[in-house]
């Protein structure tokens, strides 16, 4: 559902551009709002959430899907943890549909999907692992199935799944309000082998407003 935000970027408490292919870790407190802006269009933003006080509690794709009875994420979607608790809610969305089935690209899954020689290519999972190693509060074991903001992965009634050209465009954004204190872990996706980034990974902007 397309919903615009009334928040004023000039009043944001934090603003940062994350370059293509970079990880980003941010402690988002309960009540704060995070906006992710797709600056140039069709950029997948692979995102995980952890309970800042117990990173063993994390975003759960299956609990979120089951909770809303639907596969795609948009305004009103409640992001549910693996403990069945509400972590955050999507409160604005000018894109209209976000994915949580496609997961994150990885060196090894690129080998399977494209060619055994693709292992050298940069990937979201490498970003997650490096961010985890630097941060120290979570590790590979805690990396679950992420959200891909701005990514379009349609499923057909016959049970097929495909990666399609994005429905996002430059300046589109999604906004979520934290319900618990969160660690947000992002990889601004470097995938070059499919249309998830329109074959051209680009920067995104992160804006945070206090409660």
């Amino acid at each position: 559902m397309l919903t615009e935000s009334r928040l004023d970027p000039r009043l944001a408490s934090h603003s940062q551009v994350v370059a293509a292919g970079e990880p980003w870790v941010y402690d988002l407190r309960a009540g704060q709002t995070l906006r992710i802006v797709d600056l140039e269009g069709n950029q997948a933003v692979d995102t995980l959430f952890f309970n800042a006080h117990d990173p063993a509690e994390r975003y759960s794709a299956v609990d979120t899907i089951r909770g809303q009875g639907a596969l795609y994420l948009t305004t009103g979607t409640r992001l549910i943890s693996n403990a069945g608790r509400l972590m955050a809610e999507i409160v604005a969305d000018t894109c209209g549909r976000h994915d949580t089935l496609g997961g994150a690209c990885a060196a090894e899954s690129n080998q399977v999907r494209y060619a055994l020689e693709k292992r050298f290519m940069h990937s979201c999972r490498d970003n997650f692992l490096l961010a985890a190693a630097r941060d120290g509060r979570f590790s590979k074991r805690d990396i679950g199935h992420n959200i891909n903001f701005f990514m379009n992965v349609p499923v057909t009634p016959e049970g097929e799944l495909s990666f399609e050209d994005g429905i996002s465009a430059g300046g589109k954004y999604v906004e979520l309000r934290a319900v618990m204190d969160l660690i947000v872990l992002v990889s601004n996706c470097p995938q070059l082998n499919n249309p998830c980034n329109a074959y051209n990974p680009t920067p995104v902007q992160m804006l945070v407003w206090d409660a």
Binding site: A56, S60, A61, V62, D63, I65, R66, G69, A70, L71, Y72, N82, A83, G84, R97, L101, G102, G103, A104, A106, A107, E108, S109, Q111, V112, R113, A115, L116, R125, K140, R141, D142, G144, H145, V153, V155, T156, P157, G159, E160, L161, S162, F163
Partner: protein, 252 residues
């Protein structure tokens, strides 16, 4: 295609509804799940037995094979680009992997209170707790509880992404065969699917058959079903290249 028969079966047992089970399935062996009564659900997690940090990965499995349903010809991928299990036979055509399991709160909300105190061993067991119990036996826990497969259950999605559980999908005798492509720790239970609309708590029993199926041949069904699976099975073979070399060089 090899079959479970008197020459190949190593073990057979029945698992009650609501029960859990774990097992180290060796490379080249298969597990057949058989729905004995109809309406069963088998929730399954799979790990590399040598390194459980490597585990079944729902998104990598779906996107590698451009599928939302799992059936014959598909591989179940780990997060490390290996095929943990291949579906070498399937009488149903659709198994769910995006709906997870129900916890105690959800089971109580749907079926009412069903405590051991009153019901003894027919108490209402839930999938989340069964996974935690069975994972704990192997030093694993909630951090290892990722999206599972729900065998025998069908959940479809419409054009808007709304999901729907399809009742009556699996009948008595329905079966699926899972070949281990590496040494795999299987953790499974037979609690009802979390979206099963039946108001009665009546989890169904399944038969488990462990049988020798052999390694994937050059013309293997799963290897040939998609080029991705040919690469995935080659990636998996490389994990065993040393022991395979030793097996063919007896005097080395």
């Amino acid at each position: 295609m090899p079959e479970p028969n008197a020459d190949t079966v190593a073990h057979r047992e029945t698992l009650r509804g609501g029960e859990s089970w774990s097992f180290r399935l060796q490379r080249g062996f298969a597990l057949r799940l058989t729905d004995l009564e109809g309406g069963a659900n088998v929730a399954l997690l799979a790990f590399n037995a040598a390194e459980p940090l490597e585990r079944y990965n729902m998104p990598d499995t779906l996107k590698a094979q451009h599928t939302f349903r799992l059936t014959r010809g598909h591989c179940l991928y780990s997060d490390m680009g290996h095929s943990l299990l291949s579906i070498i036979d399937d009488s149903l055509g659709w198994h769910d992997t995006v709906c997870g399991v129900a916890d105690a709160q959800a089971v109580a909300a749907k079926y009412g209170v069903g405590r051991y105190q009153e019901l003894r061993n027919d108490f209402h067991r839930n999938g989340y707790d069964r996974f935690l119990i069975e994972l704990s036996k192997h030093g694993l826990g909630k951090r290892d509880l990722v999206a599972n497969v729900n065998f025998f259950s069908k959940v479809t999605a419409d054009g808007e992404g709304k999901i729907r559980f399809v009742p009556g999908h699996s009948g008595p005798g329905a079966h699926v065969d899972l070949r281990a492509d590496m040494n795999v720790l299987l953790v499974l239970h037979t609690c009802p699917h979390p979206l099963d609309p039946s108001p009665d708590y009546a989890p169904k029993s399944v038969e488990l058959t462990v049988w020798r199926c052999g390694l994937p041949a050059a013309d293997d069904l799963c290897r040939g079903s998609r080029p991705e699976n040919a690469r995935g099975l080659e990636n998996t073979r490389r994990c065993f290249c040393q022991q395979d070399w030793l097996a063919t060089h007896a005097d080395a």
